[in-house]
């Protein structure tokens, strides 16, 4: 009888020992402490599991057991705003359960829309795209809920924008490209014939980015952003770089070379499709390093060289992918007449200028 009582007391002691086990979360690692060092546990995953929110499938991760501490290293960092449930359960004993919160979710709204391009107050009725630039990285999956095109009465313009799943962000997710439905812009397609161009000439429109657009931290925008513009005449004029006015600075200076454009061009493409070469006689591949800036509602492109200008013949090299705000390119309208194909330039267009 005494033997039985001793065994019972021993079992009770062991169980009390188990009850001393505690679960802690230390720097993203879940730890069960107080496990008897000689305890041999084979299947960690069935003994100790961590669940996100109300999930019934355990999180993925790796286990480590040393000096009476069982550690679970989650495969992915803990997510803000998620509650985690850790369960340590040796079969035949009562499970130990503990709850932990992931990192706090930011509540302060600090991200803003910095600008919407094109900047001009009058845009052609066949405008092809907009760029919305944010002050910080944003989140996916919200474009079509939080970017609105409104008419002058504040009503959404039906089916003007091309709602596609592939959100056209830049790699840092600070700039998103919004396309107008090309089916309505391109002449003779069913949507164009049935509904016409997305905008009506002479009317006022607003692009509104509402506060609900969530940034990459999970916080909404600091304020709503609104760009108002008027719809101007249709633009199907190809670009003619040879006719652009070039204002060339004096040699020996680092004053900017200025290119005056007859109409607003695509902000993003202006930044990368025009380069400066020269002076004549320099080594081949003589592209000059310098800084580009764009001003006056994208009708002015200027270039400040890293080194002073030298006297001589230079040239601008303009890639044929440069577009205006309606998608017209050098020598080629957005929807060109098929017969115009031969007149479209291939590669880059070279425009010479002199530095004196």
């Amino acid at each position: 009888m005494r033997v039985f009582r001793n065994v019972f007391l021993l079992l009770l002691a062991l169980r009390c020992g188990a009850a001393a086990e505690t679960i802690r979360l230390v720097e993203g690692v879940f730890k069960v402490e107080g496990i008897p060092k000689d305890r041999s546990l084979q299947d960690w995953r069935s003994t100790f599991a961590v669940y996100a929110s109300s999930a019934t499938i355990a999180m993925l991760g790796t286990y480590e057991f040393a000096s009476g501490v069982l550690q679970f290293h989650p495969r992915f960092p803990l997510a803000p705003g998620v509650r985690y449930r850790a369960v340590f359960h040796i079969p035949g004993t009562a499970p130990i359960e503990a709850f932990f919160d992931g990192p706090p979710q930011p509540v302060e709204s600090t991200t803003r829309v910095e600008q919407i391009f094109p900047s001009a107050a009058v845009l052609p009725v066949n405008i092809l795209k907009l760029y919305v630039v944010f002050s910080a990285p944003m989140s996916r999956g919200q474009e079509w809920n939080h970017i609105h095109l409104l008419d002058q009465k504040g009503k959404p313009v039906d089916s003007a924008l091309l709602e596609i799943d592939q959100e056209l962000w830049d790699p840092q997710m600070r700039r998103i490209t919004v396309l107008f439905d090309p089916g309505r812009i391109k002449r003779d397609l069913a949507p164009n014939l049935k509904m016409g161009l997305p905008l009506i000439e002479g009317r006022q429109y607003s692009v509104v980015v509402d506060r609900g657009f969530i940034d990459a931290r999970g916080a909404p925008l600091a304020n709503e952003f609104r760009k108002t513009f008027h719809a101007g005449p249709v633009d199907r004029e190809p670009l003619a770089p040879a006719q652009w006015r070039i204002v060339a600075p004096q040699s020996g200076t680092r004053i900017g070379l200025r290119l005056e454009l007859p109409k607003p061009l695509d902000y993003a493409l202006l930044r990368r499709t025009i380069v400066v070469h020269g002076p004549a006689g320099a080594a081949p591949g003589d592209q000059i390093a310098g800084a580009i800036s764009i001003a006056n509602d994208e009708t002015e492109w200027s270039f400040v060289p890293s080194l002073p200008w030298k006297r001589g013949s230079y040239r601008l090299s303009i890639d044929n992918t440069l577009e205006d705000v309606a998608g017209n390119r050098p020598g080629r309208a957005f929807d060109r007449n098929e017969g115009d194909r031969e007149r479209s330039p291939k590669g880059s267009i070279l425009v010479p200028f002199e530095i004196r």
Binding site: M59, A79, I164, A190, F334, D335, N337
Partner: protein, 368 residues
């Protein structure tokens, strides 16, 4: 030769043969080699030969070919109905379902296991995930640390200039493997133009031979043409000729012979159907039933559309403007709504990923 010398020689020979064997396994004729796959994003998917899964990584402007070692033929025809796919992936990845984005779904044609590309997180630092869903419903993340793979950079990919980030990005919208070539469609966030690339597989070794980038135009009734991006396409054979049936951003459905996808060609798709206003094709598949060929298309507005492909080779392209839907006759299957992805499951079923009450459901449907 003494016996110990002979034994030494034999041991050496055995060892050499073993090493050669391992090397041959590590880099096979498919050009895949053992290593760690480092994806920065996981988007469009396609299956190639022998369980090779192609993964479009837009963030790296690259395509990965990964050996899934999943080549066992499915024993019988199964059906799939998995609810809460986003919840289940979120559970494994330790986050909330709202933080999981499903980017593409494809079925291994041999095993019928389902492969899903997704991301954990919604911002620029989101983690790419590749998930395998068994027909029994078992969900697991693909192991990427030690697999046979190859990577190829896209031809004509946006280049980052030294010291500054390049805001240009080419999103890979669709990939497909057609007889030794991978066809890759992309959509730029800057210039409005097509970029359909053909990349041979096994991937070429030399950087200068990464495949061709072909400009695709869309002609509107023999009057206007636009250098127009393709959003989604499906390979299709008509007689002995391989085509792609493609949907442009401007909605018409066109067919383009694969043989024309060569650099320098002025490739123009001929319109076979205008699908009506405001309709945005998401995914397409072709199939045969009772001796007839059909194309099944998932749309954003009109449920599933079934198009007859009969006599597509003899079909006259639309050359006069049409105010409403025209071209290949079709019917709409309105009862299936919320379909986000559509792909072939087996000879008689398609697999859809549909959004039902904020929950994503993977299920097979009989080909209509």
């Amino acid at each position: 030769m003494s016996r110990p010398q002979l034994r030494f020689l034999l041991t050496g020979l055995t060892l050499a043969i073993s090493i050669l064997g391992v090397l041959a396994f590590a880099t096979n004729s498919d050009g895949l080699a053992l290593g760690k796959v480092e994806l920065r994003s996981a988007g469009a998917l396609a299956f190639g030969p022998s369980g090779v899964l192609f993964v479009g990584d837009s963030a790296q402007a690259s395509i990965f070919a990964i050996d899934t070692e999943d080549t066992k033929q499915a024993s019988s025809s199964e059906s799939v109905d998995i609810k809460g796919l986003n919840d289940q992936i979120a559970a494994l990845a330790g986050t909330s379902a709202e933080q999981i984005r499903i980017n593409d779904v494809k079925v291994n044609p041999a095993s019928h296991n389902i492969y899903v590309s997704a991301s954990r997180g919604l911002g620029p630092d989101a983690t790419p995930l590749l998930v395998r869903v068994g027909t029994n419903g078992k969900i697991e993340l693909l192991q990427m640390d030690h697999v046979r793979f190859a990577k190829v950079a896209l031809p004509n990919a946006p280049e980052a200039k030294a010291g500054q980030s390049n805001p240009r990005m080419d999103t890979i919208t669709q990939i497909a493997y057609v007889k030794g070539n991978l066809l890759v469609a992309g959509l730029s966030n800057e210039e409005f133009s097509s970029n359909l690339r053909t990349i041979p597989f096994p991937f070429p070794k030399a950087d200068g031979n990464r495949g061709a980038s072909v400009e695709i135009f869309h002609g509107s009734h023999k009057r206007y043409e636009t250098n127009s991006p393709i959003r989604t396409f499906v390979p299709y054979a008509i007689g002995s000729q391989d085509y792609i049936v493609a949907a442009y951003t401007c909605t018409p459905l066109v067919k383009i012979p694969v043989s024309e996808l060569k650099p320098g060609n002025h490739v123009k798709g001929s319109t076979i159907a205008e699908l009506g206003f405001g309709n945005r094709p998401l995914d397409m598949l072709t199939y045969s039933k009772d001796g007839h060929d059909f194309l099944l298309m998932a749309n954003n507005r009109r449920g599933l559309m079934k198009l007859s492909m009969e006599h597509l080779d003899a079909y006259e392209p639309i050359t006069t403007p049409v105010p409403e839907t025209a071209g290949v006759p079709y019917q709409t299957l309105k009862e299936l709504t919320g379909v986000q992805h559509l792909t072939r499951f087996d000879g008689s079923s398609a697999l859809i990923l549909a959004s039902i009450d904020k929950s994503l459901e993977l299920k097979t449907i009989p080909l209509p």
